[in-house]
């Protein structure tokens, strides 16, 4: 069944304590090349029908409405998942 992916990230100007903690941990591991880390959410919604523009628009609305807290988060992407074999690759 097709999967729609919704990506939500904390707003840029909002403190992201999680990302901060990870940057600190990376620093301690000697990986200070990573200057900033932000941690958001990735939703996978399984749908039983075909994915078309109307459905994507509906999901985006849902995402703004319910999946994300738009006071502090942005919905950065709503798209159909690529077939697993591609998505799993590192490039």
């Amino acid at each position: 069944m097709p999967i729609i992916v919704v990506e939500v990230m904390p707003k840029a100007e909002i403190l992201d304590p999680q990302g901060k903690a990870v940057v600190g941990a990376l620093d301690r591991l000697g990986k200070s090349k990573f200057g900033a880390v932000r941690i958001g959410k990735r939703f996978e919604l399984t749908v039983d029908g075909p994915v078309d523009d109307a459905l994507l628009a509906e999901v985006r609305e849902l995402a703004e409405d319910m999946l994300a807290n738009t006071v502090i988060e942005d919905v950065v992407s709503v798209h159909e998942a690529l077939p697993v074999s591609v998505a799993g690759e590192t490039h």
Binding site: P17, K20, V22, G24, A25, R28, L29, I39
Partner: protein, 232 residues
């Protein structure tokens, strides 16, 4: 007898663990996450809390702390190591114990006086209990749900590595009602409930006979002391 308690940034129950060790009759030794030094302690406690806010995953960042290398080495030598709550999560993240922890099934932080069955009374931290004994230990966590793949579950059940099981109610959805486990050797034990909060009358869990009177947690520490004497 000297039992170390490691403080990580965000450790909360470190002083409580030290108090419990004192009440049990041993000497608590404060250890610091950033050191590569266990100060020759005879046993180690990884206390509860929210190390690094548990922001990545509970215990994940702390499991990479410098002192964890020493803990892993010492555990390999067989010294008793106890991970309480966040400490249990660190031991799992550090792969000293199998499995992992996820968010409680009901998704809330929960604090309650929890009944437990002691399943294995032969580990370094449980030898003063009787197998099958029921005890009451306060529980408080948000990410306490123990999970592991089928093969791991079968293995730890078969090896007697399940040390505690929730009784009466599984408070977080842990697989097989598992509240605490040990490594194969039985010197490393981790559990979600907090034995250090059941060591002083008046400040422990409510018991049927009197308010706040539970002290079942004391025997965790006296067990470690007994096992150290037996080893010596």
């Amino acid at each position: 007898m000297r039992i170390g308690v490691i403080t990580f940034p965000g450790s909360l129950d470190d002083r409580d663990a030290a108090r419990a060790i004192t009440i049990a009759g041993a000497e608590p030794v404060a250890l610091w996450h950033g050191d590569h030094d266990l100060h020759d302690v005879d046993a180690v406690v990884l206390p509860g809390g929210f190390s690094y806010g548990d922001y990545l995953r509970a215990g994940a960042i702390a499991s990479h702390a410098p002192i964890m290398a020493e803990v892993i080495e010492a555990a390999g030598r067989g010294i008793p190591v106890l991970g309480i709550c966040n400490g249990f999560q660190m031991l799992a993240e550090a792969r000293l114990l199998p499995g992992a922890h996820t968010r409680n099934a009901h998704q809330q932080f929960i604090r309650r006086d929890q009944r437990l069955i002691v399943e294995n009374a032969t580990t370094a931290w449980t030898n003063e209990f009787a197998a099958g004994e029921e005890i009451v230990i306060p529980l408080k966590n948000a990410d306490g749900r123990f999970v592991a793949d089928d093969e791991t579950i079968t293995r730890i059940e078969g090896n007697g590595q399940v040390v505690f099981r929730y009784a009466g109610l599984n408070p977080n959805g842990s697989m097989n009602d598992i509240a605490g486990i040990s490594n194969e050797r039985g010197n490393v034990v981790g559990l979600m409930p907090h034995p250090e909060h059941a060591t002083e009358p008046g400040f422990g869990p409510d018991m049927p006979d009197a308010m706040r009177s539970g002290t079942d947690g004391l025997r965790f520490f006296t067990s470690a002391m007994a096992s150290l004497i037996a080893r010596a």
